[in-house]
Symmetry: C2
Subunit: 195 residues, 2 copies
């Protein structure tokens, strides 16, 4: 956990996902860690913050989430483009050294027995809210955020600073076939003149 | 329905949402049309395409969705920044002329009795899959996509073309307080060299 990582106000944790980035999902159970990419993750509530994430039945990470009841949703950066694609296409079932081969470095945050992926811009530690019907019918998982952190070089005081941070910090937004977009320019509506 | 709007291959409809844009939700019931903005919309399945969207209990559009069982999710553009913010902050309950005041123009697509918002880049007509527990507990609605269209000036042959289209076509990604980001540069992983 480096010097730039700071807790995020729980009331503002939803902002880490509000712009719809592709995320990394990580989980740990019984000595096994895994990390996968997920484009289908979304904020669900403000306070306590909740989120949804779609985890396919073939995903090893899904098993770890179901077994441990906890997981991390983290926001990867443009600098992690290849890593994000790799953990989204390799499988731990086929390659026991998937994480090393994908260049994943894990780190600890005190108080949470979870695998956090180094180099991301933000992390949301989540407790699974069990919803068996959603999980089995739709592969849809609901998490309640129990801790949120961000790298202050790109998210600080409750706000993203993509417009002033190095472009390597931009979030990734996956489409298909290895094709991503980075988040782009800021666009602001003048709220003061609202009727 | 202008000459640039074309149907999207149902197998590729998920790509219209995969990068996590803020969307407009519209619905019609008993002669009443409404449109709202939603940052919390997400793809849920490939084929048939499904999606989730969070609709707050105070939203008039939610009532119309529950009553009619159908709705449209559409992707607004940077040119619609003010419109998107306006329909997200004004309420039809307070202003009967909300849509006109927000600059919303609706159009028809044959075969669908739904209000489509003109000027967007993509439209997903959805049938509500009733899930009363999700709707009441989480304000979470699931839709199955029954029709998809895009403006071929920015989405064509199953792909977004943000990198070559006019920047006014970029999707919007809301954070909070009137602050949005546009989608940015393309980033590609060379899939051919995958091991």
């Amino acid at each position: 956990m480096n010097e730039f990582i700071a807790p995020v106000d729980p009331a503002k944790a939803y902002r880490l996902l509000n712009h719809g980035p592709t995320v990394l999902v990580s989980a740990r159970h019984d000595g096994v860690d895994n990390v996968m990419a997920a484009a289908w993750a979304c904020a669900l509530d403000f306070m306590p913050a909740k989120l949804t994430v779609v985890l396919d039945k073939i995903a090893k990470t899904r098993e770890l989430v179901e077994q441990s009841g906890v997981f991390v949703i983290q926001v990867p950066t443009a600098a992690q483009l290849r890593l994000t694609h790799d953990v989204g296409t390799r499988s731990l079932s086929d390659e026991a050294d998937k994480l090393q081969r994908s260049g994943v470095e894990l780190f600890r945050i005190p108080g949470h027995d979870l695998p956090f992926v180094a180099g991301c811009s933000a992390w949301l530690a989540c407790r699974l809210i069990p919803e068996p019907h959603n999980q089995s019918t739709y592969d849809l998982f609901i998490g309640e955020v129990i801790g949120a952190w961000a790298d202050t070089r790109v998210f600080k005081d409750g706000h993203w600073h993509f417009e002033t941070a190095d472009p390597a910090w931009r979030s990734l937004h996956y489409i298909a076939g290895g094709h991503f977009y980075a988040i782009g320019d800021a666009l602001d509506v003048e709220v003061a003149d609202e009727k």
